[in-house]
Subunit: 225 residues, 2 copies
């Protein structure tokens, strides 16, 4: 699995990532939508069926749903599915993983140190659904930067991370930090867009970047109770 | 937040991690327990109240529960809470993050390159609860190995990862790999123990290591439907 960050050299080492498609580069997501309601089957299957998956490969199994395609389409789809489920009024949480730079299964199908595949920032329409989230962003040790030596990487990726935090503060959705995670609070689309654009930004200088979000919607709990 | 992997040098740079406590080293977890049942409040609060939190600091807010303490106690507590909730018979999922080597909030309170804090493997009693999980393990780019140069790190941490995969296969809980995650399937305690011991093992050579699991229990879905 790609989560294990195992890499093996192959012919792709001669292929600049700039000419790869997002799917070839391993751009995708895995998410688990949890509905705190006894009617969860109808709500989850309804949301998955209702949303436009054009341009995407979507596979749901017993644990989570895998989505691959362009950054814009992948995150837009996840936002749509969660928003439709949230319209049920049920309390829900979504565990979301976005990954780039390490396609494959048990071993990464790309070698270390391919050129990082840049992508344009995404933009999502507001959903009208308020979401609170814990967010973490992980530049991974297995991939090396395409634009410098391995030594340069640890500082290089901080620029996009600081920029993302500043952007989250400017847009008003930064909501503090808890241990191991940053809190975001705002429209679901803005929460996902902020996390995705930081992931894309760091992904321009680090090959393998993963971001995780736990999103909570319609919670009866007061904030930080 | 620590998820952002920002580091800032401070006096701890002169403190070998070997004399830090697990809490000082940032050993802890954040988990979200999602109950697919309209009676979720009673089930979640009951599980959190029923389990022994001796030796731990446990804080629950509107998104997730934070736990810090020794590796053994942290993971034992999470196993207990999930097992009690599972005894309700409700379908549930748990999004779990284990982190080590990066305490603090927005910035890591440790500098890069402190000695990695080794820990003994944990051992949990079987719960009798079958769990299926997606598991990912992340050695992070911000921390450097205590036992070699930054250049040496990318290969060093693979030994414990391969050992963990072999152990999961030997114990019969390795259940294949999906994109971005390894599947585990077995007793909840064994699933958590496998993930935690890989996290601990990699943590002996890499400062900042995070592992994420999405655990599914009592699911009505057939495996890999």
């Amino acid at each position: 699995m790609v989560g294990f960050v195992t890499t093996s050299a192959n012919d792709a080492s001669t292929t600049p990532a700039a000419i790869m498609t997002p799917v070839e580069y391993g751009v995708g997501a895995r998410f688990t939508l949890s509905i705190y309601d006894s009617d969860y089957v109808r709500i989850i299957l309804g949301a998955l069926a209702e949303c436009d998956a054009t341009g995407l490969t979507v596979t749901t199994n017993d644990i989570s749903t895998f989505v691959t395609g362009s950054e814009q389409r992948v995150v837009n789809y996840i936002s749509d599915v969660i928003a439709v489920a949230a319209a049920s009024g049920a309390h829900l949480s979504a565990a979301i993983l976005l990954s780039r730079g390490c396609p494959g299964e048990l071993a990464c199908a790309l070698p270390q140190g391919v050129y990082a595949l840049a992508a344009a920032p995404i933009a999502l329409d507001a959903t009208g659904v308020r979401a609170r989230a814990h967010w973490s962003l992980y530049p991974l040790l297995d991939g090396a930067s395409g634009s410098g030596s391995a030594h340069a990487v640890p500082t290089e990726h901080m620029g996009p991370i600081y920029a993302a935090i500043e952007e989250a503060k400017r847009s008003g959705i930064f909501s503090g930090s808890d241990h191991f995670a940053t809190r975001l609070d705002g429209d679901l689309a803005q929460v996902l867009q902020t996390a995705a654009n930081a992931w894309i930004g760091v992904g321009a200088v680090v090959q393998h970047v993963v971001t995780h979000l736990t999103v909570s919607i319609n919670s009866p709990s007061p904030i930080r109770d």
